[in-house]
């Protein structure tokens, strides 16, 4: 077995895989965050909380109703998306007219409410969620062992991200979205129901977070602390990538996941702040973000 910088290749690849998985989750989450920011000009602090809700939806559906993994993958995002629609309709819609920082504060409040509520009801400990039988085990690739579920997570996340990207860049609906980001008043003057589109967009993006949560359930334990632990890193990802392009957000997220994995391999103590260090570097060199349309 060869070593790279004193680390056996198996270990390195294992960490890279983990990094890729984290990157996939970052991608799903930063995608939603970037779209919400682009369209609604809102930084959705509650994104982490919706991710947590997705995980809890999966766990609850299984433990209370016996609903299995595959149905949950569809049900969880729908449920979370529905809640998102309510949040947008009841609260965010009324804040579009005032300073956008109020929306940030509102979503922060919602995040606290959700986290607090779930911690109060379910406790802080993590709930286990079993890997679905069809995805247990793994493949021996020779140079490493690839667990099935982890491979599935990467494939599913990327598929959803690419599908979303296609929908936005290549479809008529996506054109409406892109145009409404630029000039919502005019798009409305063309007869398109922009308020509804905003609600639907927020619901969809939040649903993406819920999907990520359901996907994460078998990997990490489902707990109220799921949200905050991931959302701040995702914010840093978005700052690094810039808000210019959706493709950029996905690429940045994956890259950062991998960088995090590499850091864990060679310099474990710094792994939790790796993304932030990259963020500092990017701010110094290219403040508006790597893929931003400004600068």
């Amino acid at each position: 077995m060869t070593d790279i910088f004193g680390v056996p290749i198996v270990v390195l690849l294992g960490q890279l895989l983990l990094g890729l998985i984290n990157g996939s989750f970052y991608a799903l989450l930063s995608l939603g965050l970037a779209i919400i920011f682009g369209m609604l000009n809102v930084i959705n602090f509650a994104h982490g909380a919706f991710y947590m809700l997705g995980g809890f939806a999966a766990w609850l559906l299984l433990s209370a109703l016996g609903i299995g993994y595959w149905e949950t993958l569809i049900a969880a995002p729908l449920m979370v998306g529905a809640l998102g629609a309510v949040v947008e309709r009841l609260f965010l819609k009324r804040l579009y007219r005032v300073d956008h920082l109020y929306s940030l504060l509102l979503t922060f409040g919602i995040a606290l409410m959700l986290e607090g509520l779930f911690r109060h009801v379910f406790g802080a400990a993590g709930k286990p969620y079993p890997i679905p039988p069809s995805l247990t085990g793994g493949i021996n690739l020779g140079f490493m062992f690839l667990p099935m579920y982890r491979a599935w997570v990467i494939v599913a996340s990327l598929a959803v991200c690419i599908a979303t990207w296609l929908a936005i860049e290549r479809t008529k609906l996506g054109a409406y979205l892109r145009a409404a980001t630029e000039n919502p008043g005019l798009v409305q003057a063309f007869g398109i129901n922009v308020p509804f589109m905003l609600t639907a967009t927020y619901a969809f993006c939040v649903g993406l977070a819920g999907f990520a949560g359901a996907l994460a359930a078998p990997l990490y334990q489902v707990s109220p602390g799921m949200g905050p632990s991931v959302i701040i890193v995702v914010f840093a990802v978005v700052v690094i990538g810039g808000m210019g392009s959706i493709g950029g957000a996905i690429v940045t997220a994956l890259a950062l996941g991998i960088i995090e994995g590499l850091t864990k391999t060679f310099y474990p103590a710094a792994s939790s702040i790796a993304v932030f260090v990259v963020m500092v570097l990017v701010i110094l060199i290219r403040p508006s973000g790597l893929f931003s349309r400004e600068a």
Partner: protein, 235 residues
């Protein structure tokens, strides 16, 4: 031939936040007419159009369009009544190509022009399908802005300063296109500061000053009233 008005505006008031911009606009437009709103900068011409579309903050008054109260219509439903809006800034989307821009507004009524027909009116737009919308020149963007409305089957068009900052050659083309549209029975409200252009296609002119309609001049009587007009326009 007194026809019923297609659009009847009485006492239209509008606010931008705290600012009271329109103080009671009265005018009407008959089917197939081309009517212009002329006046100085800040007289309220653009605001009037925006009030009809529903893009201002607060509005009050009586605006009946095809019998319905326009002020009660939700902003995203105005276009569905057959009203097309070409804003002053043209509003070409930079994140869309020329063709995407052209096909963008949904066709709410039958009778919209086919893309080929629009290229017939505005040959400059042909062959630019995949160019980003904002790469076009100002004049071409104006043609695109008008063209995309024509596809929707709108029969009542609100045009805000189509000739502003555009080369005379293109202005000619736009004027010719508008005349063709008028011949087809399109009803148009034109906001213009270029009197010559306005006179070349309009039937009547409403003069606006400080948020009110202060005069109405038929196109035939335009020359006779030039002095009065120049005073209104502060020339």
């Amino acid at each position: 031939m007194a026809e019923a008005s297609l659009l009847d505006v009485k006492g239209l008031e509008a606010w931008y936040g705290e600012s009271h911009v329109l103080h009671g606009i009265d005018f009407d437009v008959r089917k197939g007419e081309v009517v212009t709103l002329i006046g100085r900068n800040g007289a309220g011409k653009t605001t009037t159009l925006r009030s009809l579309i529903g893009v201002v903050g607060k509005r009050r008054g009586a605006c009946s369009y095809k019998g319905a109260d326009l002020l009660k219509v939700a902003p995203h439903k105005v276009a569905r009544l057959g009203i097309g809006y070409v804003p002053e800034e043209r509003g070409i989307f930079s994140s869309l190509t020329v063709l995407e821009n052209l096909l963008f507004p949904p066709a709410w009524q039958a009778g919209g022009m086919a893309v080929e027909e629009i290229y017939g009116l505005f040959p400059n737009l042909k062959g630019r399908d995949s160019t980003s919308g904002t790469r076009l020149s100002g004049g071409e963007q104006q043609m695109l802005a008008i063209g995309r409305i024509l596809r929707t089957g709108a029969d009542f068009i609100l045009l805000d300063e189509p000739t502003e900052g555009i080369a005379p050659v293109i202005i000619e083309e736009i004027g010719a296109a508008l005349r063709i549209l008028k011949d087809r029975g399109m009803t148009i409200i034109l906001v213009e500061q270029n009197l010559r252009f306005a006179a070349s296609i309009a039937d009547r002119h409403y003069v606006l000053d400080q948020g009110k309609v202060v005069d109405e001049i038929s196109n035939n009587a335009l020359d006779a009233n030039m002095d009065r007009l120049n005073r209104y326009l502060g020339v």
